[in-house]
């Protein structure tokens, strides 16, 4: 499972803050235009989906708040 960067966890929030600081912008500005960051609830739902049917994506699955997409 390959989650994209999200401010919704402690780990993600640290990363967002660091990259925003490096770019000299607010975290809000940094996150704008990055696409929908996965929430923990969205990730939980995706895990249940995969637990029920793991599918055949040999490269793993990326998860954004829009859902799962197989990685080639």
């Amino acid at each position: 499972m390959l989650p994209t960067l999200t401010p919704a966890t402690d780990l993600g929030a640290s990363g967002v803050a660091a990259y925003a600081r490096r770019q000299g912008v607010t975290t809000g500005t940094f996150l704008e235009g990055r696409g929908p960051a996965p929430t923990p609830e969205r990730v939980g739902a995706a895990i249940v989906e995969l637990a029920v049917d793991p599918g055949h994506a040999s490269g793993g699955y990326q998860i954004t708040n829009a859902g799962l997409s197989p990685v080639r």
Binding site: M1, L2, P3, T4, L5, A8, T9, D10, L11, G12, S14, G15, A17, A18, Y19, R22, T39, P40, E41, V43, G44, A45, I47, V48, E49, L50, A51, V52, P54, G55, H56, A57, S58, G59, G60, Y61, Q62, V71
Partner: protein, 172 residues
């Protein structure tokens, strides 16, 4: 959406006390699984147990400990295993990392995936079991401020369990 789809199965989640792991434990419990949550934070695990109820078993332990991996796989033989535990990397440019901070995600994330997937194969878990390990988008795009995090997560992604016969593959 998947109410009771996992009824009468056991799911084990590492890094269960916060963030993604916590939400995963809740979602799996709502899908009917008996959830075993592993984390080091006893207070947060107890809170989670109060929220989920009797369907949740709290295990206070270090998920990177190989003995813990062996003991818990043997004890619970989970049908669903979610290897989510991981360290929060120190967010600094490379020259401001030490070897210890740089390698932290190898010592935690990669090591725990190594031990748990090995134990899953040795047990062996039932061929219909599903093992999901947490890599990161950083494995594809890099993360220059995160020390060894991106490389560690790329290693987790590249470690795939072997398929045996017609059994389901364990996916990373």
């Amino acid at each position: 959406m998947h109410m009771h789809a996992l009824s009468e199965t056991t799911a084990l989640v590492t890094g269960s006390s916060r963030g993604f792991g916590r939400a995963i434990a809740i979602a799996l419990a709502e899908a009917g699984a008996n959830v075993v949550g592993v984390a080091r934070d006893q207070a947060r695990l107890e809170e989670l147990r109060k929220q989920i109820g009797d369907g949740f078993t709290a295990i206070v332990a270090d998920a990177s400990d190989p003995t813990i991996a062996g003991q818990l796989i043997d004890r619970y033989r989970p049908r669903t295993l979610v290897l989510n535990a991981g360290a929060n990397p120190l967010a600094r440019p490379l020259q401001h990392q030490t070897w210890q901070t740089f390698s932290r995600n190898w010592d935690m994330d990669v090591q725990h995936v190594f031990h748990w997937t090995r134990e899953a194969l040795l047990c062996p878990l039932d061929p219909s079991s599903v093992v999901i390990a947490f890599s990161s988008g950083a494995a594809l795009n890099g993360s220059p401020l995160s020390g060894g995090y991106a490389g560690a997560k790329a290693t987790i992604r590249s470690a795939r369990l072997p398929v045996s016969g017609s059994s389901r593959c364990c996916r990373h």
